[in-house]
Symmetry: C2
Subunit: 235 residues, 2 copies
C-alpha cells in the first residue's frame, strides 16, 4: 500500500479524515506509524497529497489532509480480456490497475470455461476490491471501470466498434504474422484471449471490427504474464 | 503445459519414452489424450518435436518421439533479483522462466526480510520445479541456472563485475532520472530491488560496478508485475 485511498465519507471536517477499517490496520500494524507521521494519501477519483496523523487508537485513525497534486496519468489503453480463471483474474486485475488501465471489459470466448462466470469474484464489490489494491500499490486514485460481457457475438458486433473507434485496435494472437508494435503513442484497444487463445471464428469477428492480430513471439505466456508484457510494450 | 518435458532417463529405446508422474496425469486427465494422439515434447536442454502416444494406462504413458527443432531463443538477459517473499518468488520464477530468462541470481538487500532466506522454497528442487513449470508453459527445454547469494556486498564486489562484463547493466530504481531504455538489442544484466527498493548504499554500490539506474515511471509496481514489464520493455 503506497497510498492510503480516502473516500468522501471519511471526511469529518474540511481537512480531516477518520478511518477505521483495513486501512487503519495497515497503518498501525504494517507501517507501524505514530501520531505526527506523514502518509501519502489520495481521494478516490481525486488528487493526492499528505495526511498527518493526529490520532491513532485501536479503533480510529485521524489525519489532517492536504491534497495538492494530480493522480498519475492513466494508461491510454482499454483492455478487452477473455475472462480468466478466478485465481488468475485477481492477479490480472491487480496488475492492470497498478499499471493504470482505466477501462476493462471481461468478455466470453469459446475457450473460457463456463464455470468461471459463476465465480463470486465477479461481484462488483469483489472486482473493485482487487482494483483498489492495485491503485493503492501504484499510488493512484482513479477507479477503473470494469464491465462484464458474457456474450461474445453481441459484444463484438454492437458494442466493440464504439469502444475501439479512433484507437489502434489490436488482438494478441500467437499465430499472427505481424509482431506487436512498440510504444505506439496513441489510444489503444487491446484484446487478449483465454488460455489456448481465441478460436479462428473469434479472430475473424475481431478482424471484421478492425482489430489487427499481432504476436509477441513463439512463447505462449500465461495471461497474468502477458498482460504486463503487452501493456509495457505498447505504452 | 504447452510442452511435455522429457528427461534422458525417460528413454527406454532410441525413439521411445515411458513416463509415469505428473506428466502422465496431465496427459490423461487435463489433455485427455488417447493412443495415437500427438503431443509437443522436448528433451531437457535439447531439441523439441512430437511424441505419438503408443500406450496409455493408469501407470504408464509411452510415446514414439521425433525431435526436430531447436528450443526457442533464450532472452539475452541475466536477472539479479532481490529475494522476494516466497509466494511472489514462485510466480516470478514461473514468469521469468516462461519469458526465457536463463540466468537468475537471487540476492540479499537491506529491505529483504531475513525470514525469506529460510523458506523451504529455496531448496534447489523446489526452485527448479517452478522453472520447469515456466518452461513447459512457454514450450522451452533449456533449464535456467539459478544462484542464491545471501550476502550483498561480496556478491556485488567480487562476482557481479564478471557477470555484467560486456553487457548493458541496469538497475531498476523508481527515483532514477533516466527512463528505462527499450528494445536494446544487446546482452543485458538487470537488477531489481525488493519491495521498497534498494537503499541508497546499494544503488551506489551497483553504480560503482557500472550499473545505470533507470526508471519506468512514477507507479511503484509489485515485483511480479515489474519483472515481465521490464523484460518486455528491454528485449
Amino acid at each position: 500500500m503506497n497510498l492510503i485511498l480516502l473516500f468522501v465519507h471519511d471526511y469529518i471536517a474540511a481537512d480531516t479524515v477518520r478511518i477505521h477499517d483495513r486501512r487503519l490496520q495497515h497503518v498501525a500494524h504494517v507501517l507501524r506509524s505514530a501520531v505526527g507521521d506523514e502518509l501519502i494519501v489520495g481521494l478516490l477519483n481525486g488528487p493526492i497529497g499528505r495526511g498527518t496523523i493526529t490520532r491513532l487508537t485501536a479503533d480510529d485513525l485521524e489525519m489532517t489532509v492536504v491534497l495538492e497534486r494530480h493522480a498519475p496519468a492513466p494508461l491510454p489503453l482499454t483492455l478487452i480480456l477473455a475472462l480468466p480463471r478466478p485465481k488468475m483474474l485477481r492477479r490480472v486485475l491487480f496488475s492492470a490497475a497498478s499499471m493504470g488501465v482505466k477501462k476493462l471489459y471481461l468478455i466470453n470466448a469459446a475457450r473460457v470455461e463456463k464455470s468461471f462466470w459463476k465465480s463470486p469474484l465477479l461481484r462488483v464489490e469483489r472486482l473493485q476490491e482487487q482494483l483498489v489494491l492495485g491503485m493503492e500499490q501504484a499510488g493512484d486514485t482513479r477507479m477503473p471501470e470494469i464491465f462484464l460481457r458474457p456474450l461474445f457475438k453481441p459484444f463484438v458486433e454492437d458494442e466493440l466498434p464504439g469502444i475501439s473507434k479512433g484507437t489502434l485496435a489490436l488482438v494478441a494472437h500467437p499465430a499472427a504474422e505481424q509482431p506487436c508494435p512498440r510504444e505506439v503513442n496513441r489510444q489503444i484497444t487491446l484484446a487478449i484471449g483465454p488460455e489456448g487463445g481465441f478460436i479462428p471464428y473469434e479472430i475473424a469477428k475481431l478482424a471484421s471490427t478492425g482489430f489487427i492480430a499481432v504476436s509477441i513471439g513463439s512463447r505462449p505466456l500465461r495471461v497474468e504474464t502477458v498482460v504486463p508484457v503487452l501493456l509495457s510494450r505498447l505504452c
